[in-house]
Amino acid sequence: MAVVHRSVLPIRSQEDIVRVRQATRESAVAQGFSLVDQTKIVTAASELARNTLDYGGGGEVEITRLSDPPRRGVRLVFTDKGPGIADVGQALADGFTSGRGLGLGLGGARRLSNEFSIESRVGEGTQVTIARWR
C-alpha cells in the first residue's frame, strides 16, 4: 500500500471544518471516487471534524491518499488532546450524545466508511481513523 499524497490540516474553528470538507472532497475527486462515495467520505469527515472541535477542544486531521492496486482510497486520521471518551461503545451508539447534537455523528461516520477505528484514553485524547476505498 503506497501513500500518494499526505496533508495535515488544523481543526480549531468552524471555518476549519469547512476546509476539512473541501480538502477531503478534493482528495476523493483526485482518487476518482464516484459522487456517492465522495459524499459519504466528505460527510463522515464533517462529523468527525466537528467532534474533534466540539468535544476534543480542537486538534488536527491527516488526509492521506492511498494506492493499493487495483484499489484507491482516502484515509483520514483525526487527533485531539481532549478529555477522551470513557465508554467508546456508548459513544458509538445511535442517539447517545454528551452535547446537544443528534447523537448520530460517530456511528454515522462508521457506517459511511469502509474502515473505522477509534482509540481514546481518558485525559489524554482521542484518535479516530477512517478510510474509504473505491
Binding site: 468552524q14 469547512v18 470538507r21 472532497r25 459522487l35 456517492v36 465522495q38 459524499t39 459519504k40 466528505v42 460527510t43 464533517s46 462529523e47 466537528r50 445511535d94 447534537g101 443528534l102 448520530l104 455523528g105 456511528g107 454515522g108 457506517r111 459511511l112
Partner: protein, 290 residues
C-alpha cells in the same frame, strides 16, 4: 538611557529636512521595489515630504520611545491613510512597510556624518532611529491588515444576507432555496427569515430546497428538523426538496430520521405537491397533468 540621546536625531530631522527628502527620494526612485506602474512620482514625492514633516514635528515634541503617544497621532493617522490608499492601489503590505523602512538609509548616512568620531554616540542614536522607524513601518502593516479584515467582515455580512432569500412561489406557498454551508450562525438567520415570512404572508406551506447545500451531515439535518418543527408550530407545513441520490444514501447511513417530513427530489416536485395541497387555482393553460 541618558537624556542626551535622541538629540542629534531631532537636530538632523529639523536641520536637514530638505536634504533628507532629496536623498530619500533618490534612494526610493533607484530602488528595485519602486512601482511606477502603481503610483506616480509626484504622489510619492508628496507622501515622502509629508511623512518627513510629520516625523520631524512628532520627534521634536514627543517621546522617541513611545510612538503611541498623543504627539504621534498625526503621523499615525497619516500612515493609516497611506496604508489604505496603497492597498487600494495594489501595493502589498511589505511594499507599504518598505516605504517607511527605506528612510533608514538616508537618515543613517546623516547620522554617520554627524558622529564622525564618536562610535558610541552613533550606535545609540542609530538604535533609537531604528526603533522609531521599525514601529512606524509595522504600524502601516497593522493598518493594512485591519483594512483587509474590514473588507472580509463586510463580505461575510453581505453573503449572509444574500444567501437567505425567502421567495413566495404562489399564494400560501413559500420557498427557501438554501445555498452553501449551513453553519449555525447562518442557519439562525435562515430560520428567522423563514418564520417571519410565514407570519407576513400567512403561508401554509414552505418548501426548503437544499439543492445548493453540498454536504448534509447530522448538524445540518438537525438544523433542518428544528426549522421544520418551528414552522409547524406556526401552522405551516414544510417540504424539503433537492434531495439528490448521494445525499439520500448518506442520510440513511447517518441514521437521521426524516420520515416525519415530506421530502422530494426536486423543487418542481415539491411545488406540484404544494399546489395540490393548497388546492391552488391555476390559470387553465397552466394546469398540471397529474
Amino acid at each position: 538611557m541618558t537624556p542626551a540621546t535622541g538629540r542629534t536625531l531631532r537636530k538632523i530631522l529639523a536641520q536637514y529636512q530638505k536634504e533628507l527628502l532629496g536623498d530619500w527620494l533618490q534612494t526610493q526612485l533607484a530602488a528595485s521595489t519602486l512601482r511606477p506602474d502603481l503610483m506616480r512620482e509626484n504622489e510619492l514625492r508628496e507622501q515622502s515630504r509629508e511623512l518627513l514633516a510629520l516625523l520631524q514635528s512628532a520627534a521634536q515634541n514627543g517621546n522617541l520611545e513611545q510612538t503611541d503617544g498623543p504627539e504621534w497621532a498625526g503621523i499615525r493617522e497619516f500612515l493609516a491613510r497611506l496604508s489604505r490608499s496603497r492597498a487600494q492601489q495594489g501595493f502589498s503590505s511589505a511594499e507599504t512597510a518598505t516605504f517607511v523602512f527605506s528612510l533608514k538609509q538616508p537618515l543613517f548616512t546623516r547620522l554617520r556624518t554627524e558622529f564622525a568620531q564618536d562610535a558610541q554616540g552613533l550606535a545609540d542614536e542609530m538604535w533609537i532611529a531604528n526603533n522609531v522607524l521599525d514601529r512606524l513601518g509595522l504600524y502601516t502593516t497593522e493598518m493594512y491588515l485591519k483594512g483587509r479584515e474590514e473588507v472580509i467582515q463586510r463580505q461575510q455580512r453581505e453573503m449572509m444576507e444574500l444567501s437567505t432569500p425567502v421567495v413566495q412561489l404562489w399564494e400560501n406557498i413559500l420557498a427557501l432555496p438554501l445555498i452553501g454551508t449551513l453553519d449555525s450562525e447562518r442557519t439562525q438567520v435562515v430560520m428567522e427569515s423563514l418564520l417571519q415570512k410565514i407570519v407576513d404572508t400567512g403561508a401554509s406551506i414552505a418548501i426548503i430546497d437544499i439543492t445548493g447545500v453540498p454536504t448534509v451531515d447530522t448538524l445540518v439535518a438537525q438544523h433542518l428538523l428544528k426549522t421544520v418543527a418551528a414552522a409547524r408550530l406556526m401552522g405551516a407545513d414544510c417540504i424539503i426538496s433537492g434531495i439528490r441520490p448521494q445525499i439520500a444514501q448518506t442520510i440513511v447511513h447517518l441514521g437521521v430520521n426524516l420520515s416525519d417530513v415530506t421530502t422530494k427530489a426536486s423543487l418542481a416536485d415539491a411545488f406540484s405537491i404544494a399546489l395540490k395541497r393548497t388546492q391552488a387555482k391555476l390559470p387553465p393553460q397552466m394546469g398540471t397533468t397529474s
